[in-house]
Amino acid sequence: MSDSTDAPVLRTRGLCLEYGKGAGLVRAVDDVDLRVATGETVAVMGPSGCGKSTLLHLLGGLDKPSHGEVWLAGSRLDQMTEKGLARLRRTAIGFVFQAFHLMDELTATENVELPALLAGRSPRAARERAAELLEQVGLTDRAAHLPSALSGGQRQRVAIARALSNDPLVVLADEPTGNLDSEATLDVLRLFEALHAAGQTLVIVTHDARIAATADRLISMRDGAFVDETRLTGGATGRLADLAGFAGLDG
């Protein structure tokens, strides 16, 4: 690990979210310690209901923990006011959701420039940034389209462009390929790999092994807690051709 990745940009300590009381107490997130280094892609996997989406909401300041700490760079999210959190979410965090959450009545460009406008950038700067991002996600020719005129994969790429609008410290993605077919999934994977190569920090919650396989680190979650962690570096022992059953003409 290089020096630049030693300092975590996102960190939690003893993070808990509880519902109910007494015998009915449920720990949706149970004592989670997480450190995400700058530029790292971390995938959190687990069955539905394991608490992974709830965890993502806590990391992004969309929910408040019952106990524990969430740090993003130098800011402690769990102690912030609603107003402070709202500002941090607009400027330092990019969200990507399974259902895209685009504004139906706005074009691709207008959706992408919205966060920059909300963060106080000039309309011109916001428009330029949106054009740049739509080019990055390969949708320049769809810039004037409404979401209803775009495929699922294209909508998700618009949503990713929007998430990048304010150069967030971290992009948090919740099942980003959950609604996509395999070709559109490949487009999103390509995009995540390009972001990763450009040094973007990514935390992706998913049950899609295809996404998990592109991460630097894979965390398995069960019943609100982390149960396993795997670093996905190094090579596979099996050769690609063997996986397809092709071992040459003699095989």
Binding site: L232, G235, L243, G248, L249
Partner: protein, 174 residues
């Protein structure tokens, strides 16, 4: 693989070189496992068994790679039979399953540790297959093959999840 070469010749007679190129195109990065001489060895074998016949290209100098191969009637029949066969690669799950069973029964190793190691290996393979798929042009033949590899690995990973659930439950009871 014999039938694949015969089926390519069913389209039109061809040099060995042309067949090799067509195989490479259909396999993409997976075709790297193919040795350049293999096609000629196989064509020689097919000729001996009477499934293909050679014609020498006129005018051109007499070199082995200038031979043009064509299907015989027997070769055509073999291709027709092959196209209606329903063979399918056998999945090899029993050995891994028995590894978990015997490891647990003899207390040789923790089945969950074996599952974790296997998952890591499959995820690395999935990553490699996906990277290869991503660098293929849209809708290429090789891309479609790689999609098959990716889907099978996903299925295997789902089975590993089932293994994990079951063996976690058993450990909890013992």
């Amino acid at each position: 693989m014999q039938e694949v070469v015969l089926a390519m010749l069913a389209k039109e007679p061809s040099h060995g070189y042309g067949l090799r190129t067509r195989l490479r195109n259909a396999l993409g990065p997976l075709g790297e496992a193919m040795n350049d001489g293999q096609i000629y060895v196989m064509l020689g074998r097919l000729e001996k068994s009477g499934l293909v016949a050679t014609e020498r290209a006129e005018v051109l100098p007499d070199r082995s790679d200038r031979k043009v191969y064509a299907l015989t009637a027997a070769g055509q029949q073999r291709v027709a039979d092959w196209l209606t066969e329903v063979s399918w690669p056998k999945p090899d799950l029993a050995e891994f399953h028995l590894k978990l069973v015997t490891a647990a029964a003899g207390r040789l190793a923790d089945p969950l540790v074996i599952v974790d190691a296997q998952r890591r290996e499959l995820l690395l393979r999935l990553r490699d297959a996906q990277r290869a798929a991503m660098s293929e042009p849209d809708r290429s033949d090789a891309g479609l093959l790689l999609e098959g590899v990716v889907l099978r690995l996903q299925a295997d990973l789902r089975w590993l999840e089932a293994c994990e659930r079951t063996w976690t439950g058993r450990r909890g009871r013992s």
